[in-house]
């Protein structure tokens, strides 16, 4: 038995029903396990039987489940899932496959029940499109049928309507043609899902059942043994997650969603402890773990754009806590992305209360994201209304854990959001046109690539060494310097050690390049090491990077830049970089190293016009080696 179910039973035995329901609410906020959820529903039935739960829920909601298949397990899981929102659900279930009659007959039990919410739990077998049918006609007919049912429901009940989209069966007789042939079944089902989304009026919401099926896997979603034995169209291993998503949409539609994501900092937004490890010691960007943290921040910014509000709550010195936001180049979140910033040594419960009060929301609007299990347990205990995400141990799983946490859906978009969507659509149409008619130059120009050159410092030195160690393709010399070796090269007077960042209109690619150049003599700067990650291959960022170095050499009074190329079996893509910029190959001296030169003021320098280069200023400061502290 799940420990939380056991704990709820014990509270129930002691007569403490609210504590029992709080324990079950934590269970309902996690990843659904079928047996636990069914056990929870049974226990819930006992707990709520004699009015003992009065006072606990924020609201009791009447939900009618109209199903095209056996809906009992789904209904049970809906009751369990609602606990995560501190909501109790009273349910009505249509008979097996009687959803249509229930909607069409004004005297049906459905209308007698007077639901607040109607869930249309329907599966692909209900889509009446035959193999020989004209697909467009059949699709229009089916769209009309479903929108007609919605309209009847809305007119007769005023209820919120939630419908599951159709999950195309994977093992049908069409094979791969099912996805592309005009009359292919899977294609038709997908088109119908899209059409239903386009036609859904205010008050009608879709649950993306295909996304649920993808999450649990096809084998769990379609278990045909349970279909034949008990007309279970949705595998029981998938029912819990489907219920969780359904209730999440219902909660958003009823205004019961959560609104504020409150973030811990150390080991939540970055790896390590800022107060101990310092700006250069925390793990963020550059490398597998650091990129997972960076991507989690990007995900959070996405939530913010959708209207979820972000706040920080951290046990830290305030100045330490702010430092990465102000100074770390890999931070995706900025201070102005946040509505509240609590850093100090109060308990998290105290800080969370203050955040809620400061921004004028109830505690039930908050979701805490914190890597520390002790903090999570303390907050669950002291503030059961606050949602607490059970974060996995690895940052690569943070975004999914938060994405699945109940209460963060948006059911409606504001007028402004809606306009934004249209703008994006128009922009996308523009891009599609460009792609059809444009040349490579047009395409590159449309990318809006920005290459930012920055000197080596404590925040990027680890990433520079990593790029030098790992880059194979766009690597001119293949020299694998260590951090210490880079250090000693950097200390040579006039040396240049740079990192390169690239972003475009689609994405921030982060720190993707590095170079080391050292003076050969007073007039010549020698490019010792040059690497650019293949992530930005094909957009000429490497030429812009070399170009920046040539400019720098000119500005520092050098008359020539010497490039080197050491061919390997992997770096063919780098073979033409120097020639493309305008370097000329020197007479061979034999050996593995090709030597190329560019005489400043004499050879023409070819840099890409479509890449905007940002160089650090003033140039002379860059030539100094890194001072170690």
């Amino acid at each position: 038995m799940h420990p939380l179910v056991r704990s709820a039973r014990e509270h129930a035995a002691d007569g403490d029903v609210p504590a029992a329901l709080d324990a079950l609410a934590v269970l309902a906020s996690g990843s659904p396990e079928f047996t636990d959820w069914i056990a929870t529903d049974r226990l819930l039935g006992r707990l709520t039987a004699d009015g003992a739960a009065a006072g606990w829920p924020r609201r009791t909601v009447r939900v009618a489940v109209l199903s095209s298949h056996t809906g009992a397990q789904l209904t049970a899981c809906l009751r369990t899932a609602a606990l995560a929102h501190h909501v109790l659900v009273e349910t009505y279930e249509s008979g097996y496959r009687t959803y249509e009659q229930e909607v069409l007959d004004p005297g049906s039990g459905l209308y007698g029940f007077a639901p607040d919410v109607v869930v249309l739990a329907v599966d692909h077998r209900e889509v009446r499109v035959g193999d020989g049918d004209d697909a467009d006609e059949a699709l229009a007919r089916e769209t009309d049928r479903w929108t007609g049912l919605w309209q009847d429901l809305q007119e007769r009940t005023g209820a919120v309507v939630v419908q599951h989209t159709f999950v195309p069966p994977v093992d049908d007789a069409w094979g791969e043609l099912g996805a592309s042939s005009p009359t292919g079944r899977r294609r038709t089902l997908r088109r119908l899902n899209l059409a239903l989304g386009d036609h859904a009026p205010a008050g009608v919401h879709l649950v993306d059942a295909e996304a649920v099926a993808t999450t649990v896997g096809g084998a769990a979603w379609f278990d045909s043994r349970y279909w034949y034995a008990a007309k279970q169209a949705v595998g029981l291993g998938a029912v819990g997650l489907l219920a969780q998503r359904t209730v999440d949409v219902v909660a958003a539609a009823l205004g019961l969603g959560r609104k504020v994501v409150v973030l811990d900092l150390d080991n939540t937004l970055w790896g390590g402890v800022i107060g101990e490890d310092g700006l250069g010691g925390i793990v963020l960007g550059g490398g597998a773990e650091g990129e997972a943290y960076a991507d989690f921040q990007t995900f959070l910014r996405g939530l913010r754009r959708r209207g979820i509000v972000l706040a920080v709550c951290s046990k830290n010195q305030p100045a330490d806590a702010r430092l990465p936001f102000e100074r770390h180049p890999e931070m995706r979140l900025a201070l102005d992305d946040l509505v509240a910033f609590e850093a100090g040594w109060d308990t998290k419960a105290v800080m969370l209360r203050r955040i809620a009060a400061d921004i004028g929301v109830g505690l039930e609007a908050l979701v805490l994201v914190d890597d520390n299990p002790l903090e999570r347990a303390a907050v669950r205990h002291e503030l059961p209304q606050v949602g607490v995400v059970e974060l996995p141990a690895e940052p690569s799983g943070y975004a999914a854990a938060l994405a699945r946490f109940p209460g963060l859906q948006s059911a409606t978009v504001t007028a402004e959001d809606a306009r934004r969507t249209e703008q994006y659509r128009a922009r996308r149409r523009g891009r599609e046109l460009e792609r059809k008619s444009g040349s490579r130059e047009d395409f590159l120009r449309s990318l809006g690539t920005v290459a930012t050159v920055e000197p080596r410092d404590e925040t990027n030195r680890a990433r520079i060494v990593q790029l030098i160690a790992k880059t194979n393709q766009l690597n001119l010399t293949g020299r694998r310097h260590t951090d210490t070796e880079v250090d000693s090269l950097a200390r040579e007077p006039g040396a240049v050690v740079w990192a390169l960042r690239v972003r475009d209109v689609f994405d921030d690619h982060g720190l993707v390049g590095a170079l080391v150049a050292v003076p050969l003599d007073a007039s010549t700067l020698r490019l010792d090491t040059f690497v650019v990650s293949c992530r930005v291959l094909g957009r000429d960022a490497e030429r812009a990077f070399v170009g920046a170095l040539v400019e720098h050499a000119a500005a520092s009074g050098r008359s020539r830049v010497l490039g080197e190329f050491v061919p390997s079996d992997r770096n063919e893509p780098a073979a033409s970089i120097l020639a493309d910029v305008g370097f000329r190959r020197l007479q061979e001296t034999g050996g593995a190293v090709q030597r190329w030169e560019l005489v400043i003021g004499q050879d023409e320098v070819h840099v890409p016009e479509h890449v905007a280069v940002r160089r650090p200023d003033p140039a002379p400061a860059l030539t100094a080696g890194l001072t170690t502290t």
Partner: protein, 80 residues
């Protein structure tokens, strides 16, 4: 076998929310209070999930009494 019997009993108790339930081997499922056809399906799935076993098409429709269920799970579990 004793472990399996205890595990099957726990699953039935969990699904039916009857922590004290005692079941005899020859007891037919439908004679146990709360063990209706819907609970039956939930129990089958929970057993598959817990023991990592898989009932055949025929077994899905035929399983009727508790002893039979325990024996079948034990047999499948030991060969898995």
């Amino acid at each position: 076998m004793a472990d399996v019997r205890a595990g099957v009993t726990e699953v039935v108790r969990d699904v039916l929310d009857r922590p004290e339930l005692q079941i005899a081997d020859d007891q037919r499922a439908h004679d146990v209070e709360g063990w209706d056809s819907l609970a039956h399906v939930s129990i089958l799935f929970s057993l598959e999930d817990r023991f990592g076993v898989r009932f055949s098409d025929r077994e899905m429709g035929e399983l009727q009494d508790f002893g039979q269920l325990v024996a079948l799970v034990a047999e499948k579990h030991s060969s898995s």
